[in-house]
Amino acid sequence: MTVTTPLARNRRPRAGRTALNVLALLLAAVWAFPVYWMVNGSFQSLSRLRSPEPAWLPFGEGTSADAYGRVVDASFWDSMQLSLVVTLLAVGCGLVFAFLAALAISRFRIRGKGAFVVVILVVQMIPAEALFISQYKMLSGWGLFNTIAGLTVLYLAMILPFTIWMLRGFVAGVPADLEEAAMVDGCSRFRAFFTITFPLLAPGLVACGVYGFLQCWNEITLATVVMDPSNRTVPLWLQGMTTVSNKAIDWPAVMAGATLVAVPVIALFMLVQNRMASGMVSGAVKG
């Protein structure tokens, strides 16, 4: 976010730039509004939400945090626990596996490297939605239907291709010369790698980890298909709140639930997005 073009900027006439700034703020408003509306709605009372005039602000008369009390119950914590376990397992294994693979393809000259890279890319194009029938049947055949292990394996396979793709860019971005210099100075190959290259890769690993975390945390298709309805991940728990039939939806509670699911993730994302975007770019350009 830091690189700018001073030249291009100064040349633009003042009026033109003001117009662009206004356009940008309009776009920002459109993109931020739903997120604001979610948080705002979670603090309103039911009756206030049903009045014909919209309630614009999350404070003042008629607002409270009651909805959070209604929404945080045992089923919320159960879902939270399930989601956390599956996500952390998948991301942990995913990072290790992807890291090893990225190392192999960008630090060694191996046969079939080009083919491997293309396979990784093509695999990303296979729609998960085209496979879930047989994934479902595979897991139920092995007695892994509705188990943490089953869902974790599928999530792992889901995040691996993109993680390898991104990490490859990061590994290629650290010059091998540094390592070789250390080896000339008498370091073992192993030690050279872990004292020189690994620290430089840490930010890339964090970025990939967060990206994988988000993918698993938000995943809904596979969680619908291979888990029992009584065993819901967080997204399904939230979805369940709006599909209650015959009953008027408790919008403040739903919005409180959505906020609880979203805010930690948004915060996490803000911390690392810059690295993620650059990782995406280096993955696309570097061999």
Binding site: L25, V35, V119, T259, A277
Partner: protein
């Protein structure tokens, strides 16, 4: 994919101008072992299901086979014949393609505009724009769907309130999801809203790699703004541009969660099915695994067809790189 598997690597000596390094001299099994965990997982989680899916698409496989009261029977291309002669399939395919192309095009256009805009803005508006894009990008899918569903709610939604305030009295209590056209309008708005930040940030990152010196030199030589954009900026960001567009098409063709959610919230399933939800309906709800597998194969072929050109050029690049 089979073709990719068998593609041999280019001879190392030809393209490497540097003298061979220490690490390249010996061939050892270690680097291949490093690939094993990743390849193993992919084979287990994607490869095996894919093979099974192909097999199942040639079998009679329904509830009876699922519970073991009958063996899966080989029926050749019957499933495919059923699927391909069913008008519903073609309606779903046409709907999916139209929606995918419309959403992907709009997303790419808006994303490019936002990325270019971010380069031109003053600091404060740029940060505001980036933060709101990030918030939208990071919002969990279901949380976003929930809010959008509420925004378009017929009685309590702010969209209807806003339209009525503007003077469109007919929109009072309008049910967006009940009519297929407005259903897809809502779905399109949501999908584009969710996808633009990814495109914008990727292209923004790519734009920071445009060489400043070249731009300046071209400027001194009298190149106009348009020329500089076309001959320097576009070629630099092309790799990112094409992969982002490819991903966008793939993602928009396989939409499932968004459509399923809106269907649950009040859409007419038969008139709003896209490939993903149609598959779900056939396979999971009706337990017609064989037929569903054939539809899945059709979807896979469509995806590969849409991306074939890109994959081929990539193969060529990898072969020469």
């Amino acid at each position: 994919m089979a073709q990719a598997m068998t593609t041999p690597d280019a001879p190392p000596a030809r393209t490497d101008p540097q003298p061979p390094r220490l690490r390249t001299r010996r061939r050892r099994p270690a680097p291949y072992l490093l690939l094993v965990p990743a390849l193993g997982t992919l084979a287990l989680g994607l490869g095996y299901p894919l093979v099974r899916q192909v097999v199942m698409s040639f079998q009679e496989f329904g509830l009876a086979q699922q519970f073991g009261t009958a063996d899966p029977e080989w029926i050749g291309l019957d499933n495919y014949a059923d699927v391909l002669t069913d008008a519903t399939t073609w309606a779903v395919v046409a709907r999916s393609l139209a929606f995918c192309l419309a959403a992907a095009t709009l997303t790419m256009l808006l994303g490019t505009v936002v990325a270019l805009l971010m380069r031109q803005l003053s600091t404060a508006p740029r940060i505001v724009l980036q933060v709101s894009m990030l918030a939208a990008w990071a919002s969990p899918l279901v949380a976003s769907l929930t809010v959008w569903n509420w925004l378009f709610d017929s009685r309590y939604g702010i969209v209807n309130w806003f339209l009525v305030t503007l003077g469109f009295e007919g929109m009072d209590g309008y049910s967006w999801l009940a009519n297929p056209w407005t259903f897809f309008l809502v779905a399109g708005v949501i999908v584009v809203w969710m996808s633009v930040p990814f495109v914008a940030f990727s292209l923004y990152a790519a734009l920071t790699q445009v060489p400043e010196e070249t731009i300046e030199a071209a400027q001194l030589d009298g190149a106009t703004r348009t020329q500089r954009f076309r001959f320097i900026v576009v070629p630099t960001i092309r790799p990112v541009l094409s992969i982002v567009m490819l991903l966008q098409i793939v993602w928009d063709l396989r939409l499932f969660a968004q459509i399923k959610y809106l269907q649950n919230a009040g859409g007419t399933v038969s008139e709003t099915n896209l490939l993903g939800t149609y598959l779900y309906q056939l396979g999971v709800a009706q337990s017609e695994y064989g037929v569903a597998s054939a539809v899945a194969m059709l979807m896979l072929l469509l995806t590969l067809g849409l991306t074939f050109g890109y994959v081929r050029s990539l193969l060529r690049e990898e072969r020469t790189a």
